[in-house]
């Protein structure tokens, strides 16, 4: 984002476009929109440097509601289009707003390659574990056995764990939050947006029409929420009475803090180069029915694709001077007739 000398003066209102919001009443998307509109001004930087890119899906309508630059592209391709924007214009702040179908079904490959490359993008994936816009088919995050329009006898395919996928794809920033947990979501989104490189945020989002209550077990429920805080022992439960410890065999176990003592708990280290532990944490709740970690799993620094590309250009110009077109097309082996 380009430097401004003035303090940021954007307000939520500045970011609200004049377009009627066309989500179903009660959809979790509203809360995410509102939170994004509140968080973005805090980042500083002018509105004209903001770009929101999306694919297709209910969630992908997001850019229309932001009074910024925006592209509502085609299904699954937002990470690619956004990569072109970000790589060619490192001065911009580029967001990708996407759904579980858009990002992990048709768009899975672009997603993992963006993560691998570490393009400067903030990817926010609205996971409602369903295809909303096409009226309720199961998605790659739907639980096994899911009964939907396209699986009347229950789905037979094992879902992805989006955090695991991202970590397996070399992501430098991976987090998870929940649509209506505003404070948590704000903090996660702010950190994600400030991250240099590709930040991937999974947001549990309620689709009250086709998959209502999918995350009720986790939402607001302290028993089922493991809030990850860098540098802190991993505790959860109504009063933090439970915790996560590492067995010598290399398995994570859920323990009673009183029984094992706080020192036995694993201390969360989001900045660790090795994504192994973050990955193990991601497995803790394969579906949001067991205690499920939310927060930042991983946050490490790695060269950023667009910057590295630009550095090669700067370096070439520094060494050879700016290109001379006549010289280029004439080449070294020309002759006069």
């Amino acid at each position: 984002m380009s430097q401004t000398t003035e303090l940021p003066t954007l307000t939520k209102k500045d970011l609200t476009s004049d377009q009627e919001v066309r989500w179903c009443p009660g959809c979790g998307d509203y809360a995410i929109l509102s939170t994004v509109q509140s968080v973005v001004p805090e980042l500083g930087g002018p509105r004209e440097d903001l770009v929101f890119v999306s694919g297709i899906g209910c969630s992908s309508r997001f850019p229309y509601y932001m009074d910024t630059y925006g592209v509502h592209s085609i299904h699954g391709r937002a990470p690619a289009i956004a990569s072109g924007i970000s790589a060619s214009r490192p001065d911009l702040k580029v967001f990708v707003m996407t759904g579980d179908g858009d990002a992990l079904s048709i768009g899975g490959n672009h997603l993992i390659h963006a993560l691998r490359r570490n393009v400067n993008l903030t990817i926010v994936m609205f996971n409602n574990q369903i295809y909303g816009l096409t009226k309720g088919q199961y998605s790659p995050t739907s639980e096994l056995g899911k009964i939907t329009k396209s699986t009347p006898a229950g789905s037979v395919d094992h879902p992805f764990n989006p955090v695991s996928v991202a970590l397996g794809a070399e992501a430098s920033f991976v987090a998870r939050s929940i649509d209506n947990e505003r404070a948590h979501l704000s903090e996660v989104l702010r950190r994600a947006a400030e991250h240099e490189g590709t930040a991937f945020v999974e947001v549990y989002q309620n689709c009250n029409i086709f998959n209502d209550g999918a995350f009720d077990a986790v939402r607001g429920n302290k028993e089922q929420q493991i809030r990850l805080e860098h540098g802190e022992p991993i505790r959860f439960g109504a009063d933090g009475e439970r915790g996560v410890a590492l067995a010598g065999t290399g398995e994570l176990t859920l323990v009673d803090v009183a029984a094992v003592g706080e020192d036995a708990l694993l201390v969360h280290d989001a900045h660790r180069e090795d994504p192994g532990l973050a990955f193990m944490l991601s497995r803790l709740a394969h579906t949001p029915t067991g205690p499920t970690p939310i927060g930042i799993f991983r946050e490490v620094s790695r060269p950023v694709y667009g910057q590295a590309l630009q550095a090669q250009i700067d370096d070439a110009i520094a060494r050879r001077g700016p290109g001379d077109l006549a010289e280029l097309i004439t080449g070294r082996d020309s002759w006069e007739v």
């Binding site: 004209e48 925006g70 072109g84 060619s88 280029l328």
Partner: protein, 624 residues
């Protein structure tokens, strides 16, 4: 030099050997030396899709044909005067293309019984009479090469043998009186870090030269005088190089940065390779995960204010179709380059064809019109790329630029244009910086009245924040609109924008030749330019009256095309497909256009086209 030199006006030679024998390199170096002399020339590399099929096998044969002359020529030649065959497979694969009386220079060392078997020869062709029609010169190239390198240290026999292509190059260079300095200099430079290898190659090259000069096998050599080309500075260029330079030039002339999103695919990859080398021009290349991401990043870059481009071949265009549709819907400039190859599907990756015209014009869902243009010669790829950029920028539209495998790898001498003579694209590329609406708002789909193009407002411009997307948009505001009449209007506007280009391109020019008014028009497009022009010349030499025209703009067509077609009793369109341009012309102008269609993965020969022209002329006369 003791031997006499015979002056000839035109020569076609072909180097053929194993994929690992370095035939492409040999041919390219011979071409460079030929260009340096000032001959006109045209080349035809022809290699298998495998990197290196098993040594000695037929599928592993790699060939390079060069036609050079003291006058301007248009094709790589129909049949070679000389074939250099480095092994039996190379002989077998190429013998059929030789006219009686041609010379074949064989590497005698390679005619072992094992190699004959690999080439599926039942008997030694040198002995069973199958070479009767040609003049055979057997040279123990491998032995002579190894012998010449006796004193080169640190190389084993196998490594020494690898220099045998330089022996062949030396021999042919002697035979056709090519200058040696450029080749020697190039070898020294290429192997600067491996002096032994440089030494070996140079020794082999010189041994070949001396072999020609001293042995009695050849009693004379040949000379081909420089061609009288229009004056100017010339260089040798392949189509892929010209396409790459065209893109760099277009960006330069538009005051934009070039962004190429690509994914390797034969025969287009060299454009990506070439552009990756020009970072000092600010060129960004992005090797994407696939073709869809290639065009996706390019479209993103366009939105962000770059000259976005993507390069691929037919199967890649198929994958990009959906995103091309998006580019049409959001009306952003974008260059989509298709270096065509043999199809359908994976087809013949290293062979040429022009069967992607339908796909270019029609290959998307919905009413999705865009401009399509095609290059005629390797050097013309440069200007075609610039024309593509001009249309993309001025009309805010994706443009498909067609080249093909023959242009991509074929070379010709090219008059280097003066940079100041190239079109100035800055006005066409101008970003919008101020609101354009009646109430001070920004209307991203308010069109320019002349071009029907929409404003290009790039991120970072305060006050012009806006959203674009693939859903139908309301005229002016660009807001999502499901209104039936708006959709019809927008559909017609997108079509009208492309149609309007017909008035912004030069009318089609027809070369009628001299003499009586021809009744037959031969109309070409793309890389058939050379063979068609050569065939028309030849037909005229035979006394036929034939008109010739060549289309660069395939969609829309030049405004006068209908009138041109109506002028002739007969129109012949030769195409390396089953009649794609012909179909477009028939649909548009209701003219009973005839086709000459061959899909052989190779450019047309002059001969077959002369025959096709003659057949049409007979028909026209019969109709009289």
């Amino acid at each position: 030099m003791t031997k006499t030199a015979e002056k000839v006006d035109t020569v076609t030679i072909r180097f053929a050997g194993d994929s690992g024998d370095g035939m492409q390199l040999t041919g390219t170096r011979f071409t460079s030396a030929t260009a340096a002399i000032g001959n006109d020339l045209a080349t035809l590399p022809d290699f298998p899709a495998e990197i290196r099929a098993p040594a000695g096998s037929l599928p592993g044969v790699s060939g390079f044909q060069l036609h050079f002359a003291d006058h301007d020529i248009l094709t790589p030649g129909d049949d070679p005067d000389v074939l250099v065959a480095m092994n039996p497979a190379a002989l077998k694969a190429n013998l059929g293309d030789l006219a009686p009386g041609a010379t074949v220079i064989l590497n005698a060392d390679a005619f072992t019984s094992q190699n004959l078997k690999k080439a599926r020869y039942a008997a030694d062709p040198r002995e069973d009479g199958s070479l009767e029609q040609v003049r055979v010169v057997e040279v123990p190239i491998t032995t002579l090469t190894v012998g010449a390198l006796e004193d080169v240290p640190d190389l084993n026999k196998k490594q020494k043998q690898r220099a045998k292509n330089m022996f062949a190059l030396g021999l042919m260079s002697w035979m056709y009186s090519r200058p040696t300095a450029p080749t020697l200099e190039w070898l020294r430079e290429k192997f600067a870090s491996q002096p032994t290898v440089a030494e070996a190659n140079i020794a082999a090259f010189e041994a070949g030269w001396n072999y020609g000069e001293t042995t009695e096998v050849f009693d004379h050599r040949y000379e081909v005088a420089p061609a009288q080309l229009p004056s100017g500075r010339y260089r040798q260029i392949t189509g892929n190089l010209a396409l790459s330079y065209g893109l760099v030039a277009a960006a330069d002339r538009a005051g934009l940065r070039l962004f190429l999103g690509g994914y390797p695919i034969t025969p287009a990859s060299d454009v990506l390779h070439e552009l990756a080398r020009h970072k000092s021009f600010g060129v960004q290349t992005f090797q994407a995960e696939d073709e869809i991401a290639g065009i996706g990043t390019a479209l993103g870059a366009s939105f962000a204010g770059q000259l976005g481009a993507t390069v691929t071949s037919g199967p890649g265009i198929a994958l990009k179709a959906e995103t091309i549709g998006l580019a049409i819907a959001v009306e952003l400039p974008l260059l989509v380059l298709n270096v065509q190859r043999g199809g359908p599907s994976t087809g013949l990756p290293t062979k040429t064809e022009q069967a992607d015209l339908f796909q270019a014009v029609f290959g998307r869902n919905g009413e999705a019109p865009l401009p399509v243009i095609a290059a005629a010669t390797p050097g013309d790829c440069f200007h075609t790329a610039i024309e593509g950029a001009r249309l993309a920028l001025r009309y805010r539209t994706p443009v498909i630029v067609l080249s093909d495998g023959y242009l991509a790898n074929g070379a010709e001498p090219w008059r280097v244009p003066d940079v100041d003579d190239l079109p100035d694209l800055r006005d066409d590329a101008a970003f919008t910086t101020e609101p354009n609406g009646p109430d001070g708002e920004f209307l991203p789909f308010l069109r320019d009245e002349a071009t029907l193009g929409r404003p290009w407002a790039v991120p970072g411009t305060p006050g012009l924040e806006h959203r674009i997307g693939g859903l139908e948009k309301a005229e002016g505001t660009g807001n999502i609109s499901y209104d039936p009449d708006n959709h019809h209007r927008m559909t017609e506007l997108r079509q009208a924008k492309v149609d309007r280009i017909a008035d912004d391109i030069p009318p089609l020019e027809v070369d009628e030749g001299e003499g009586p008014g021809p009744r037959l028009l031969v109309l070409g497009w793309g890389s058939t330019y050379g063979p068609v022009a050569a065939a028309v010349r030849a037909a005229r030499r035979e006394g036929h009256a034939v008109a010739h025209a060549h289309l660069r703009h395939l969609n829309p067509f030049p405004a006068n095309l209908g009138e041109v077609l109506a002028r002739y009793d007969r129109v012949l369109v030769p195409e390396m497909n089953l009649g794609q341009l012909r179909t477009l012309l028939r649909a548009r102008y209701l003219v009973d256009v005839q086709g000459y269609n061959r899909v052989r993965g190779l450019p047309f020969t002059t001969r077959e086209l002369v025959e096709a022209i003659a057949a049409q002329l007979t028909d026209v006369d019969a109709d009289r």
